[in-house]
Symmetry: C2
């Protein structure tokens, strides 16, 4: 087991990463407050992992209730958030209860927001079951739901007391979702860890085969990177923006294609290639660098091309990103492999770049 | 103008109290972040005070939008909270906007919760227009909405950047609501300020006539008391419980009679008399002490008797209060005028006390 300690000002919490952790009650017990646990999950994940987790907890005399949400970004809204409150109150959970998120990003975001606001805040534990949630949602404390007019428009910062990452659950994750998580892992390498990029070039194929020790190591390294960046820039004003490599392009792809048709990680993969090509146009990356990124993404069965779209449509969708301030498009580009920077890009330069890439 | 500075760890905010403050843009401007203000109010209060406030803000080049909620505790729910998010997004308010609550406790609680969770937190300013909200909600940061199964079950702590208390707005407050606010003011005197009790004995009649300077002084003194208590006990484990004098009895009255039939302050007034009578039974207060409390409440046209209820029903409603831990009833009682304590009361003693008071 690897433990990454996230040292927040005033408090800190551990991320435990390894095999068979769901059965180890001694990892969870120190982070509970009362004796009541509300597990928030979705039917598919719950069917696979809730019975074992429930047994682990009930064997310790804890009272375990469950709240199953329909799976998917489409249900990440206030209406389904209310279902969690209904269940908490129907089960008589008091302010010393623990909300435990067992699932991917949607479950984690909603359960975390419920934990942040039920009785003005109760204890929260995350058990992320998708690779993407393991490397992305475990650190940062962002929780929330969507509004018809925008993603994640309603939410709160809520830090967990514990993140428990049982690598074994990745065995049942669809290959396409495993790949989507790989995209975020590759992102950490590209923005700040060239050595990790070498490591991924070597090990990505075995990770895609589900090799648990390599997956655990990559998850731990990714969580450490995110923790370092977030702790240095809690309020999202500087370095934290680098975590958005590929995301502004990616959001345009997701919006154009409809959420769910492209997975978030897939859109980010294609977006990272677009960022890399702009960095190449600026003279910061070589053709060999770009080819290397392409090869790594392809080894993970990730897309390296955006879908067929008009450059004007693409640029207009990018302009709706909430990182746009006063009309200036700020993009995360690569100065070198393992080194990213936020760059303000003139609309005309962006238009030309998009035309060259979208008609490539 | 009187200013009470609430010194939170890491930051602080002012409560400005005086006449004509709604017209003084220079008090508000330093506490805005961007140029967008969403005023949350209800139709009645907005009809009286929004035009002037809007003029004050728009004269400074600010963009002002409004969200009017139906008045009353019955609408303090997730469904109406969603209306605030709808308005914020329809008006294109970004994360640098300010949510300004113009109204009583319901408006303040809902606007504050929206400010705590819109885009994971935006700037918040409170302009409380009821005496109760001025002395109770201005300090403490509690925001939230009700659930069918319980009051304030969903919420967050959100500190305002500014509380602006324009005493002039009390001129249009119904006398009954003015009295309800007086109950909370008297509470501060009873739990921790005997000198303030002397002052109130002298000035309560003129305050009930709306004398602005006396009202401003009493509001400031109450806010100072609440700030002192809350800052010493941020997490509600000790001294802060004293602020609940009369409230456990009062909640039983409110629940029995249905919310809105007894105003919160009225139920607290009757509850404080019940606490005082228990303190008298324990030998801590004299008959003269109790008579003095009764006379002050009567000078404020507040009830000093609970409604006709059976002692068993009353006790059972008290047991549902969320301050009950493990079946022990904890009550705030008076050791003397100006000095309160939390006391654990045996069920049998409480039953006898209730029987003597409810059949009096």
């Amino acid at each position: 087991m690897i433990t990454v300690e996230v040292a927040l000002p005033g408090r800190s919490y551990p991320i435990h990463i390894g095999s068979g952790l769901l059965a180890q009650a001694e990892l969870i017990l120190p982070h509970l407050r009362g004796r009541q646990v509300m597990v928030v999950s979705n039917p598919q994940v719950a069917g696979l992992y809730l019975p074992a987790l429930r047994q682990t907890l009930e064997a310790q005399g804890l009272r375990v209730a469950e709240c199953l949400l329909p799976d998917g970004e489409a249900y990440k809204d206030l209406e389904h958030l209310a279902c969690i409150f209904d269940r908490l109150l129907a089960e008589g959970m008091d302010r010393r209860c623990t909300v435990l998120a067992l699932g991917g990003g949607v479950v984690g975001d909603m359960a975390g927001f419920a934990a942040a606001t039920y009785q003005r805040g109760v204890n929260f534990i995350q058990v992320p079951t998708s690779l993407l949630a393991q490397v992305d949602s475990s650190v940062g404390g962002k929780t929330g739901v969507n509004h018809p007019r925008g993603k994640n428009m309603i939410g709160a910062f809520k830090q967990p007391a514990l993140v428990l990452i049982d690598i074994d659950v990745l065995a049942t994750l669809p290959k396409r979702e495993l790949a989507a998580g790989m995209a975020e892992i590759i992102k950490y390498a590209l923005i700040r860890d060239r050595e990790f990029l070498d490591w991924l070039d070597l090990h990505a194929p075995a990770m895609m085969q589900g090799e648990p020790e390599l997956l655990a190591e990559a998850v731990a390294r990714s969580c450490r990177h995110k923790a370092e960046v977030v702790l240095r820039d809690e309020f999202e004003e500087g370095e934290r923006a680098l975590l958005n490599l590929g995301h502004t392009f990616g959001h345009a792809i997701e919006t154009h294609c409809g959420y769910g048709n492209w997975l978030h990680g897939e859109a980010v993969a294609a977006g990272m290639v677009m960022a890399a090509r702009m960095s190449q146009q600026a003279g910061d990356l070589s053709q060999a660098d770009v080819d290397r990124i392409l090869a790594l993404l392809q080894a993970c069965q990730l897309p390296s091309q955006p879908p067929a779209m008009h450059a004007d449509d693409f640029q207009s969708l990018m302009a709706h990103d909430k990182k746009v301030l006063d009309g200036r498009q700020r993009l995360v580009l690569l100065r070198a492999l393992g080194h990213a920077e936020v760059v303000e890009v003139e609309p005309e330069r962006l238009r030309q770049a998009l035309q060259s890439m979208l008609h490539a």
